[in-house]
Amino acid sequence: MRWAVAGCLLLAMFVFGIGVYHTVGYLKGDRNVVHRPNEVSAPPLAGTMYVVQAGAIYRFHHGSFTQITPEAGWTQPSAGPGDQLFAVRRQSNYADLYLLSSRGTTVAQLTHNFTPGAAESSHWSFYPRLSPDGSTLFYDYDPKNSYNNYQVDLAIFASPSNPGARGSVQWTNPNDLTGGDVNPVPMRSGALIYTKYSIDDSYRVHSQIWIQRRAGSAGQALTAPEVGCGQPALSPDEKMLAMVCTKGSSQSADLDVATLDATSFALGSPATLVGGQLLASPVFSPDGKSIAYLAPSTPGGQFQLWTVGSSGPASVRNITTDLGLDSTSAPVWVGG
């Protein structure tokens, strides 16, 4: 009996030693563990949201995440007809647009950008956005310059949203060798808001919110070059514009909102809702009263989901803390 007790005590000491080893490892190690969204819960938000992590699309509803596509290069979902989604599937050397059901199954492949052979023969498509009337799909595409195959600039194109229809129109003319025009946001009036890049004589890069009334027109800047604004998001009533503005910083940005006159296209004085941090991809809630965006919750950490109300910093909410969301994919926030 005595030997049995001694044996048990020795075993307990051994287990204790192993426990100390693992505890020290946990305390000293990197605790910024990234979870898949469907492994965590989060405060519920009104409506339904779609986010992207590691090439998979997740639906966020009633405080829980559901993975709707495999981790297979899926990115940049956006609201489609009915409860469907448009999304990009990015692969080595090319990216294509797809129409997906709300459960993530493929309804139609909309572009076929892969060309066998030389890598540079393939194309990219990014940032699909459906026009408010549902008739037109806007997206980014890289038309090639036949005189300079080093020049690859994204331009915004538009095609009929019906997968069976053909034809496309180039809407914007990007500045050469800047990377091009991105983030199309179609308006009810038929105009298009987007981000345009330019490089000045001092080799400085500028991003501006730009608006065009029709395909191929010159358009006009809504923001000044020195403010460095991009990633526009329009409120459901089209009276407010949210944007990310770097204001000369390369390590942080502000989330600004301004009123927008949808007739004259005059932008009001912007107000900063969230300032001085790396943040990306704002999107309005279906009721237009709050904005979701992506930002790290710790310096250098991965991107998490946040929301902010119209009252500014006091209303900031950190919705997730240990995910690694794709910050180049704006959340899709729809009602229902």
Binding site: M13, F16, Y21, L177, G179, S207, Q251, P299, G300, T328
Partner: protein, 309 residues
């Protein structure tokens, strides 16, 4: 001794055993560290540097296209840190800058590393720019990727879309190092692993600023690495250093590295000045049948004297 004390002592010894088992590899790594002159790190409190100092950061393409001991430097960044004033300056030196290289004659400054390694690069920078370089850090392609991955990635504000249809596919040792693939780095704040961060700072074909754009992005990445490194525990430095197996070479010892890390958080945002020698400091032209960048020393040297003296 009462039995209860014997049992308690047993648990204490088991706990110490667990602690020892965890920390033993750290100390072994410190002893075997690639930094020759350090040995065991001093885990006592360190004194932070107070005097200004200058470090030359060097980056090379070290894939199989190149003979290992005949590498050029694709990136040269001179960093001046003034701990007292809490000011830092980064000056990117164009790789094609046409200069007099000590003991070699005229050539691109990127060639200085070929003949005499870091010593040659330091000598070329010192003689042409009129500055004293205290230390250097050299890193290769895989070293940079591994460093960023060890840090858990970096957060970068991508200034504009970076698109390159001819990005070299030379990172892995297998395959054709002259092969290429397409890169599209989308704009905005983003978290990057090592491979994607390397794409961001190495791509140059789709930007009208060419190599100057790369220089800007390299400076940006340096700040992002500094930010990510602030999460590193100084006790983990020996383990981190030993993981690179020659992919990072430096004259900075582990104790000095710890001292530098202790002041790293003093330098961010507006007190880090970034200089890229774009025109009118330089102009593009031809020399010895090659495309080069000519320096205008009458403009560069006063700038350097002002910020690095």
């Amino acid at each position: 001794m009462p039995r209860i004390w014997i049992v308690a002592l047993g648990f204490v010894i088991a706990g110490l055993g667990g602690l020892g088992a965890y920390f033993l590899p750290v100390f072994q790594a410190a002893v075997n560290s690639t930094s020759a002159n350090d040995g065991l790190p001093n885990l006592n409190p360190i004194s932070a540097p107070t005097e200004p100092f200058t470090i030359l950061l060097l980056g090379s393409d070290d894939d199989s296209k190149f003979v290992p001991d005949r590498l050029n430097t694709q990136s040269m960044i001179l960093v001046r840190v003034d701990p007292g004033a809490k000011q830092a300056t980064m000056l990117s030196i164009p790789r094609d800058l046409w200069v007099q290289i000590p003991n070699q004659g005229w050539g691109k400054i990127s060639w200085a590393y070929q003949e005499r390694g870091a010593e040659g690069a330091v000598a070329a920078v010192q003689s042409n720019f009129g500055v004293h370089v205290d230390d250097y850090v050299w890193i290769g392609l895989n070293g940079l990727v591994k460093l960023i991955d060890k840090l858990g990635g970096v957060n970068v504000q991508v200034t504009n879309p970076v698109l390159d249809d001819f990005y070299p596919s030379d990172l892995n040792s297998g395959g054709n190092p002259y092969d290429y693939y397409r890169v599209a780095v989308l704009p905005g704040a983003t978290h990057m692993d090592g491979v994607h961060a390397l794409q961001y700072v190495r791509s140059r074909h789709g930007d009208s600023r060419g190599d100057f754009a790369r220089s800007e992005r390299q400076q940006q990445l340096l700040l992002a690495i500094k930010s990510a490194a602030s999460r590193v525990n100084v006790a983990d430095l020996p383990t981190l250093a030993s993981a690179f197996n020659g992919e990072i070479k430096t004259s900075v010892g582990l104790d000095k590295m710890r001292a530098l890390m202790s002041i790293a958080n003093d330098f961010s945002g507006p007190n880090v000045h970034r200089i890229v020698l774009v025109p009118p400091y330089t102009s593009e032209g031809w020399a010895a049948g090659q495309s080069v960048v000519f320096p205008d020393w009458s403009q560069i040297r006063p700038l350097v004297q002002k910020t690095f003296a």
